[in-house]
């Protein structure tokens, strides 16, 4: 029996999602009895007394304005400025995709490392500091490594990040610059992950997505909290979320559940749709086949940040899509690039490949009527295109070089846009 003391903030215990067995609020992520994932259990009665719309609005515009629903005991010490990214009304893209109302939740401009991972890392490292760790680590497809490296540097923590050896150069440099130990593993992400699970069992480090995962994963809820607040305290009818492990999708769902349970938003129905790349689609393949379990895959896609062939939360993501009446689909590498361009050309937002997946799948689901044309949808954009330039090089045209000469410019204009040349 674990005491619900104030020293644990609003957390009560870690609890197995499968069998309900409770554990102390330590750095541990797996139930000893059935290997089920441990999840943070909260004292919602106390939270309801503390967290109101007025209180939230009185706080700084960061993810920590929902502090009661995030799993740390005291005040955040790492990543206090993270979150509250723009929710953009995307009318031009809506018109192109054929839907009445469309919003982009733009974590491509999250602080400090331009992806939604800053949310989970802020929570994981703040909690790691509370638990006394001085060394932090992660298994990553790139964005997480960037965020752990940057936030660890700012907090003065020692940092090891483990990544597949063949990541985009932008993502590799974006970890090295912060002075982290960057270890490239000759293998795909699932192998990096397995190695990290073994290292975490041996070294007393805080692996944000291994032994710290129960805390870490909760940080993703803040993306959903912000969506609801920024929409004017309501739950969107449709939300499209890209899936790697599937964790973000399950936590967006949980954020809608928690806000409606606390009375912060009216409880209206919502559907959550999952997006993957066709070259790594274990979850959407199972969803389309009507299965509640997935088959592991060997990834082969330009969407490297989503290239997890053995998704940890695949089972729960499938359940969320089923329970909310959402669907799943996947898109090819060419459709991913097209999605990136659509978002850029219509809304001026340059997303990484995962964003191209989200836009591409949204387009398919709207065309198929699974997201009705008369409805309203939010697309979760999770990372920045400047980090995955490799994926679009050679696919977005080339600049035309000319001499610094007005005559050359007008000759060029006459060839390409004759209507613009003065008579």
């Amino acid at each position: 029996m674990f005491v619900m003391s104030n020293s644990n903030g609003f957390m009560k215990a870690l609890k197995c999602r499968e069998c309900g067995h409770e554990y102390p609020l330590a750095a541990t992520h797996v139930c000893e009895f059935d290997f089920g994932p441990l999840e943070v259990a909260y004292d919602y009665e106390r939270i309801a007394k503390s967290l109101t719309r007025d209180v939230i609005c009185s706080r700084p515009q960061t993810m920590w304005r929902y502090r009661e629903l995030l799993p740390i005991a005291g005040e955040p010490t790492v990543g206090r400025q993270v979150g509250y990214t723009p929710l953009v009304r995307a009318d031009r893209l809506a018109k192109r995709l054929g839907i009445r109302e469309l919003w982009i939740k733009n974590d491509a401009v999250n602080y400090p490392t331009l992806s939604f991972k800053d949310r989970v890392v802020s929570v994981a490292l703040s909690r790691s500091v509370e638990l006394g760790f001085r060394t932090v680590a992660c298994a990553s497809t790139g964005n997480l490594a960037n965020s752990v490296a940057a936030n660890a540097a700012a907090a003065g923590l020692q940092c090891f990040v483990f990544i597949p050896h063949d990541l985009e150069q932008g993502k590799v440099l974006n970890s090295l610059i912060y002075g982290a130990s960057v270890i490239g593993i000759r293998g795909h992400y699932d192998e990096v992950n397995r190695l990290c699970a073994e290292i975490a069992g041996k070294y007393p480090w805080a692996f944000v997505n291994v032994n710290m995962r129960p805390y870490y994963a909760e940080g993703s809820k803040s993306m959903g909290f912000e969506i609801q607040e920024q929409l004017g305290w309501r739950i969107p009818e449709h939300t499209v979320v890209c899936m790697a492990s599937g964790s973000l999708l399950t936590k967006i769902h949980k954020s809608y559940q928690e806000f409606s349970k606390l009375g912060l938003v009216p409880e209206t129905p919502w559907k959550i749709h999952g997006a993957q790349a066709t070259g790594c689609n274990p979850i959407t393949q199972a969803q389309k086949a009507g299965l509640d379990f997935f088959k592991p895959q060997r990834p082969n896609t330009i969407a490297k940040s989503l290239a997890i062939g053995t998704p940890a939360d695949g089972f729960y993501a499938l359940r969320v899509m089923k329970e909310t009446g959402g669907s799943g689909d996947d898109v090819t590498d060419d459709e991913i690039r097209e999605g990136i361009r659509l978002l850029a050309e219509c809304e001026g937002i340059f997303a990484e490949t995962a964003g191209g997946v989200t836009v591409g799948v949204a387009k398919k689901l709207i065309a198929a009527g699974k997201i009705p044309s008369g409805s309203s949808a939010v697309l979760c954009i999770t990372g920045n295109g400047l980090k995955t330039l490799d994926a679009v090089v050679g696919h977005v045209g080339e600049p035309r070089d000319i001499k610094p000469s007005l005559r050359e410019f007008e000759a060029l204009l006459a060839r390409e846009n004759p209507k613009l040349v003065p008579a």
């Binding site: 000893e32 290997f35 995962r213 379990f293």
Partner: protein
């Protein structure tokens, strides 16, 4: 040289804190059965009622997921390494 099994942290209470356990060659299934005979209770943690490896457990033979091999029937020969890893990690 026998087969070496790496025991994950959540199961080490059952193996008296042994991280590495050696078993006879055979298959993944026979290795789990041998573990059970030496460390009673370990089998039910690893496999479900019908003998399949649990949803939240991944088993690797020489770093390859047994779901890409022959699941429980994956052969184990002298010198092979088996890792049992909680599936819930990463992402």
């Amino acid at each position: 040289m026998p087969v070496t099994i790496r025991i994950p942290t959540p199961l080490r209470k059952l193996t008296q804190d042994q991280e590495l356990v050696q078993v006879a060659p055979g298959t993944v299934g026979s290795a789990i059965a041998e573990l059970q005979s030496r460390f009673p209770g370990i089998q039910e943690r690893l496999v479900d009622d019908v003998g399949q490896v649990r949803r939240f457990v991944n088993v690797y033979v020489n770093e390859e997921d047994i779901r890409f091999l022959q699941n429980n029937d994956t052969p184990l020969k002298d010198g092979d390494d088996v890792s049992i890893i909680p599936a819930i990690a990463g992402g």
